[in-house]
């Protein structure tokens, strides 16, 4: 069953140079209880999609979608106030650079208390006295859940006193406080070192396995997240290029861009000569105001031909959705 169903999501942004279509007809279908990865390089619009789903966009964005459903709630029809109620309870988000998203002037416990579910906070004077210990208990449990052992020390610290990894764990604890149905992780491990990165990913994987939390994982590193995700969507310059299950993407990638991304996982059993040149696409990612028409990969694509100046339609091969005029199809 689809938890989040987004169809033909487009985002236009009004700029000084006119309207720019930054997201072009993105589709997203997230199955309940799975980890869905959205992979794309920086500037490809991953965060924009996440923010549009959450309703965090500002005035000059024009968000249009044929369909945007969370379970059976139509997100497009809600007022921003109703949207706000869904935020945090149904959909929670964790950001990159956790330290900059935590309040630097407050201790961790005080910040966490703010996000605890409403039923825990009592209005009655007498209940307030008992509420404090319930809160502390709840915060302790949350911190233990995300693998922070010394909850008292961490709780009494300010964000700048903690390491980036611990801060991200606190962010995750705050995000899962209300048991959201969907957890969006927006590049949760950028600028972290390998060991901490693995810890955070293992934590997210465990949350998915044990508590059945659905996770939308955004990342720019195909290699580090492909292994833990059930479904993968690739996005290039605001166009979703390929989308399918882990097996479909890894075993039979059809889009040239996906094939490039898979080559970024350096497997040393396949003989890559030591110190040889690594495979990359020619050119670089175009800036948002100079996007090519048609398929945006066009100028860099090894398979590009004349028809690529028109935008390819999405084709669905048994759930493996692809947008390319010249996909690599299995001979079978």
């Amino acid at each position: 069953m689809a938890l989040l169903d987004v169809r033909n999501l487009s985002i236009d942004i009004n700029t000084a140079q006119g309207k720019i279509r930054v997201i072009d007809k993105a589709n997203l279908n997230i199955v309940d209880g799975s980890i869905h990865s959205l992979v794309g390089e920086s500037g490809s619009g991953k965060s924009l999609i996440a923010k549009a789903v959450l309703g965090l966009h500002n005035e000059n964005w024009i968000v249009t979608a044929d369909r945007m459903f969370l379970g059976n709630i139509d997100l497009m029809k809600l007022s921003s106030r109703e949207r706000r109620k869904i935020m945090g309870k149904e959909i929670a988000i964790i950001f990159q650079n956790p330290r900059s998203y935590l309040d630097p002037s407050k201790k961790i416990v005080d910040q966490m208390r703010e996000v605890l579910p409403k039923k825990l906070s009592a209005k009655h004077f007498l209940k307030k006295m008992t509420a404090k210990s319930t809160h502390q208990q709840a915060i302790k449990e949350l911190l233990h859940k995300v693998g922070v052992q010394n909850d008292r020390d961490v709780g009494n610290s300010y964000p700048h006193e903690l390491s980036e990894g611990i801060c991200q764990k606190v962010m995750i604890a705050m995000a899962i406080a209300n048991n959201p149905r969907l957890l969006i992780a927006d590049e949760p491990t950028t600028s972290m070192e390998a060991v901490t990165q693995a810890q955070i990913f293992r934590l997210l994987f465990k949350l998915n396995q044990l508590h059945n939390t659905t996770i939308l994982l955004l990342s720019n590193n195909f290699g580090s997240i492909s292994n833990l995700s059930d479904y993968i969507s690739l996005i290039y310059c605001g166009q979703t290029v390929e989308s399918g299950s882990y097996k479909q993407i890894i075993n039979s990638p059809m889009h040239p861009y996906t094939q490039t991304m898979i080559k970024t996982i350096l497997e040393f059993d396949e003989n890559i000569a030591h110190k040889s040149q690594l495979y990359t696409l020619p050119g670089s990612i175009p800036p948002a105001n100079q996007l090519p028409i048609g398929c945006r990969l066009g100028p860099r694509c090894p398979k590009a031909q004349r028809t690529c100046v028109t935008n390819p339609e999405a084709v669905n091969y048994k759930g493996h959705i692809i947008r390319c005029h010249f996909p690599t199809l299995d001979e079978k």
């Binding site: 390089e41 810890q199 991304m261 350096l266 040393f268 040149q277």
Partner: protein
């Protein structure tokens, strides 16, 4: 083999005052010994706080060591003049957007090291700058640009040009790959490899991405708490890691969730 750089019993201690009269000594790294051959790449890996950055900054000359000595071509670095030293060892910093002067054009940024460290005339300088720019794959048009007009990879290319312009023996790269996207990382790695092939320069690389480290380096040093726990060729480190720390680092690199 001819040894280019030889580091001998290098240690660094910081004195920290705790109170008015008492102070304690904290060591960043102790008893570091390694050597580097010409045209080879040495990678230093380890968790944060293990003293990697302080060590490479000492080799580059940004910090002084407490004891021990670094030898370049068999001569102690403390005997070198500052000019001579920065001609032979150059450093690339983590974020080029911070290390390039935002108020100077690329042309000015690149001519500064030549003006300070060489006796070239203006025409020769110009020639040298253009050669170096083409070496890192940039057009001469960029000379009039300011760093903020360039993309992150181009900024890295300019930083690399600034390092290469004096024809150094060693380039130290301190986590230059961490902030880039994976495909841009590949591009920069390709560039580093091409330059090494053309110019025979040696690299000392501090990095986190284990598979890239494996690809580019000939020799690996694993550091933990300021001590070298493993020092071997890349092949040996990856095929048969000896210390637990190395195993831990290798395991956490690409864990398998499916099995």
């Amino acid at each position: 083999m001819n040894t280019l750089l030889n580091v001998n019993n290098l240690s660094k201690n910081y004195r920290r005052s705790n109170g008015l009269f008492s102070s304690s000594v904290q060591s960043a790294y102790t008893d570091i010994n390694f050597s580097l051959e010409a045209g080879k790449t040495l990678s230093i890996i380890g968790e944060s706080g293990s003293g990697k950055s302080t060590l490479v900054q000492t080799i580059a000359g940004l910090r002084s060591q407490s004891s021990g000595e670094i030898y370049l071509h068999g001569t102690a670095l403390s005997d070198f003049s500052l000019q001579h030293r920065c001609k032979s060892i150059r450093m690339l910093f983590h974020a080029p957007s911070d290390s390039l002067n935002p108020k100077a054009t690329i042309g000015r940024i690149l001519s500064a090291p030549l003006k300070l460290n060489s006796n070239l005339t203006a025409i020769e300088r110009d020639q040298q700058i253009k050669e170096t720019l083409s070496l890192v794959g940039l057009l001469p048009d960029y000379l009039a640009f300011y760093p903020n007009m360039l993309s992150s990879v181009q900024q890295h290319q300019v930083a690399l040009a600034r390092a290469m312009i004096l024809d150094p023996d060693i380039i130290i790269a301190d986590e230059i790959l961490a902030g880039l996207d994976i495909s841009l990382r590949f591009k920069l790695v390709n560039l580093l490899l091409t330059i090494q092939e053309k110019k025979g320069v040696s690299y000392i690389v501090v990095a986190h991405n284990m598979s890239l480290v494996r690809h580019i380096s000939d020799h690996i040093i694993v550091m933990h708490n300021g001590v070298i726990v493993e020092n071997d060729t890349t092949e040996n480190v990856y095929s048969s890691p000896k210390s637990d720390k190395t195993k831990h680092l290798l395991q956490s690199h690409q864990p398998d969730y499916r099995k």
